[in-house]
């Protein structure tokens, strides 16, 4: 699980990929590496030519999610995502992690006729959550992105996010927080079949039910961080080597 080495905490900042790291060091240190000889540049000044260099170096990574959409509105706060009474469940405990998933979005008002997780079920049938503005506002609790991921959601496509939710999503790797450029929540309905394709340079949401396609803002450097957290194969078996990522590092596959 990669955390804290977030290349892109603010989705509204322009995102370009960092320069490629050609050979990872032979071990990981739990400490941070301070390249005080060269001050890390802010993301916006990194050249886009490094993007091309990287894609030449290794095959283009493409991530695809396909499934049903669940559509919500604006300002879905963390209490609607996971009501506070369920916060006694500790996410790092596997049994309780699963239970958290069963309560995902249970706080939505009765006006939402379709429940995200059917009563009695542990998992959701919806892979993609479509939201409006300020998704995930409210509490800093990780239980919010965790319960969505535990329930089986793969990605959220929203117009904008609250910062703590976005950060926690990346840190935990539970769901991909993707930004749409238009109000997708007005054009999609719960139950629509959709595909989210994450590609370098352009990512899209394809609604197969309506036939419409929507451009998404690139996940940028947050992508590999989420991958490291969500892909069990990239998890380090050795507990001595933490999975935390350092700044400027692209993780395609952890080789340790």
């Amino acid at each position: 699980m990669a955390a804290s080495s977030l290349q892109s905490l603010n989705p509204t900042f322009s995102q370009t990929l960092a320069s490629p790291n050609t050979s990872p060091p032979s071990f990981r240190s739990p400490f941070l590496r301070f390249n005080s000889s060269s001050t890390p540049k802010p993301l916006s000044t990194r050249s886009s030519s490094s993007l091309i260099a990287r894609s030449a170096a290794e095959p283009q990574e493409r991530k695809t999610f396909h499934g049903l959409c669940y559509v919500v509105g604006d300002n879905i706060d963390t209490d609607q995502i996971i009501p506070a009474e369920f916060l006694t469940l500790v996410p790092s405990n596997p049994d309780e992690y699963e239970k958290l998933g069963s309560y995902a979005l249970i706080g939505l008002p009765a006006s939402y006729k379709d429940r995200f997780v059917q009563p009695g079920e542990m998992k959701t049938k919806y892979s993609i959550i479509i939201g409006g503005e300020n998704f995930g506002c409210g509490s800093s609790r990780e239980h919010a992105p965790v319960c969505l991921g535990a329930a089986g959601a793969k990605a959220v496509v929203a117009q904008s996010y609250a910062r703590i939710f976005f950060r926690n999503s990346v840190a935990t790797g539970e769901v991909y927080p993707l930004d749409s450029e238009v109000r997708v929540c007005d054009e999609c309905k719960t139950g629509d079949v959709a595909t989210v394709e994450l590609r370098e340079g352009d990512s899209v949401l394809i609604n197969h039910t309506t036939g419409k396609e929507y451009k998404l803002k690139p996940i940028g450097d947050a992508g590999p961080v989420i991958d490291a957290g969500s892909d069990p194969l990239s998890c380090l078996p050795n507990s001595q080597n933490p999975r935390f990522v350092e700044p400027g590092e692209i993780i395609s596959k952890y080789s340790i």
Partner: protein, 536 residues
């Protein structure tokens, strides 16, 4: 559009008692051009002027040092850099990490998993030394060196305490085990749930306890696994909420990766009317900029009104910064701050102030003398309305408590209004002191102008419920047996911080966020009521 430009009153920086290096001051210059940042605002008020400061260009390549805001300075110092600009991703040294019963088990669980079973949290000077090295290679010695500092972590059980919920009780036990194992110095434990007073270490609501126990100091970086950690910004420090994973990382390393936020400045001038409180100010602001108006930004509060506020009022103001989406809130420290802090800690601190030539991404000014008591109607903290315009709203209960509105001065204010009115409440009125200390103040301190009566006496005479055991209580609903939880679709006026659907329990509950004065006034009439009905 109407805009009243108030004649410039520069923020005068008073010379504090203790060593303060950087006596920068931020004088508000009248810009030659005013451009209204229209897209952020829903309605234009005559009482304020919103100005968009010109975007400054990055000066990272220049030799001229750019002025920095308070937040930029605090983060630069914590990252051991001489200069940062908004947008920079930097590694920041953490001074204090706070966690509680809800997120502590998760944070420590992640820490243990990531840093090894035998990891211990101890002070590691190597980190400081190595950060000076030009080369970045660091050798692992043994797993016991995956450490940070057992004296910089503050564990405060406060959320689900006085409940029979077994998991909630277990979480406090889990924290006890972690603290024992890691030798955590500050663990405000509770073992006897039947009588909070039998627990000498127990404090209560984390954000109030942090302040009362002297963990908040100007110039520092304080993180907490709770969104209202931003409360501590009242002390002129960088304070924000983080999740379990980030906290787990901090536990192991004492550092966090942060993106430097740009600062929105809010200048509040004018004499605070006797019926107005900090809660009204922040609800006014959130209503102005919306629940996402400050997303990823710092909210810096200054002006003559701010200078006149007590520490607890400043805490109320910064507490709800997160409700506007803000990353952190900050208030320039002054004599009031130093007085409070120096009475509670001997740890030295270094206050910082925004440079005169710092850049702000937005400027808002308020003439506070013209403001009126407001509420946030269901179901959003930015659903602002004048209290007097809601007088037809019938209510079922009143809740006075939480980090936002459950401090000593909040109860004093409510008591003052009850005393002035001399009437009985018409609806159940729940009182939840934030901490043990607040509870004791409620029972011991005489209310000014009440002939020696304490808050508790006045509350009893007014027919309020007996002040209950201190904790976060029903602010966020909680387990089913939480005191004052909204278990039915009722209307509640509350001094808490959020009113999204289901916040206090029942999904159809209607919560009106208000100041303690407004809450007390509403209790007396059984309707949402402007406190001027009883205070003038």
């Amino acid at each position: 559009m109407a805009s009243s430009v108030i004649s410039s009153s520069p923020f005068v920086c008073k010379s504090p008692a203790k060593g303060q290096k950087d006596l920068g001051f931020s004088s508000f210059r009248k810009p030659s051009q005013i451009s209204i940042h229209g897209c952020q605002r829903k309605s234009i008020s005559r009482k304020i002027v919103s100005v968009m400061a010109p975007q400054r260009s990055s000066s990272t390549s220049g030799s001229v040092k750019t002025g920095m805001t308070m937040t930029e300075k605090i983060l630069a110092k914590a990252a051991e850099k001489s200069q940062v600009v908004p947008g920079d991703n930097i590694w920041v040294n953490v001074d204090v990490l706070m966690t509680h019963d809800v997120c502590g088990p998760g944070a420590f669980g992640i820490f243990k998993r990531e840093f090894g079973d035998n990891a211990k949290v101890v002070l590691n000077l190597a980190i400081k030394i190595l950060s000076l090295l030009a080369f970045s290679l660091i050798v692992i010695v043994t797993s016991t060196l995956k450490v940070w500092d057992s004296e910089k972590i503050v564990v405060i059980p406060d959320h689900y305490i006085f409940t029979t919920d077994k998991r909630a009780n277990r979480n406090v036990d889990i924290m006890r085990e972690h603290c024992r194992e890691q030798n955590i110095k500050y663990f405000y434990d509770i073992t006897d749930l039947g009588d909070f007073r039998a627990n000498p270490d127990y404090k209560g609501v984390c954000h109030v306890a942090l302040a009362q126990e002297g963990h908040c100091r100007p110039g520092e970086v304080l993180l907490g696994t709770d969104s209202h950690t931003c409360t501590a910004g009242a002390f002129g420090q960088f304070a924000t909420g983080i999740g379990n994973t980030d906290a787990g990382f901090v536990l192991g390393t004492g550092k966090i990766l942060l993106k430097v936020p740009p600062t929105m400045r809010f200048i509040l001038d004018g004499e605070m009317p006797s019926y107005l409180q900090a809660k009204d100010l922040i609800l006014q602001i959130i209503g102005e900029i919306s629940v996402a108006g400050a997303t990823y930004k710092t909210m810096e509060f200054s002006g003559t009104t701010i200078e006149s506020l007590t520490m607890e009022e400043r805490m109320t103001l910064c507490n709800m910064v997160v409700e506007a989406g803000g990353k952190n809130g900050v208030i320039p420290p002054d004599a009031t701050t130093f007085n409070y802090v120096e009475n509670r800690t001997s740890v030295p601190f270094q206050p910082v102030y925004s440079d005169a030539n710092a850049s702000f991404v937005a400027d808002y000014r308020f003439d506070v003398s013209k403001l009126e008591p407001v509420v946030a109607k269901p179901h959003s903290p930015d659903n602002r309305a004048l209290a007097r315009e809601c007088k037809d709203v019938k209510i079922d209960r009143v809740y006075i408590g939480s980090c936002t509105g459950g401090k000593t001065e909040d109860f004093m204010a409510a008591a003052k209004l009850f005393h002035a009115a001399g009437k009985q409440v018409k609806v159940p009125t729940f009182l939840v002191p934030a901490t043990q200390k607040v509870w004791m103040d409620v029972y011991a301190l005489p209310v000014p102008g009440a002939g020696g009566k304490t808050c508790a006496q006045i509350f009893e005479e007014a027919g309020c419920d007996t002040p209950t055991s201190p904790s976060c209580g029903a602010c966020l609903g909680g387990p089913a047996d939480t005191y004052a939880r909204l278990n039915e679709p009722q209307v509640c006026v509350s001094t808490t911080n959020r009113n999204f659907p289901g916040r206090m329990g029942h999904k159809e509950g209607q919560i009106y966020l208000a100041s303690p004065y407004t809450a007390a006034a509403s209790a007396l009439t059984g309707h949402v009521t402007d406190p001027r009905e009883f205070l003038q």
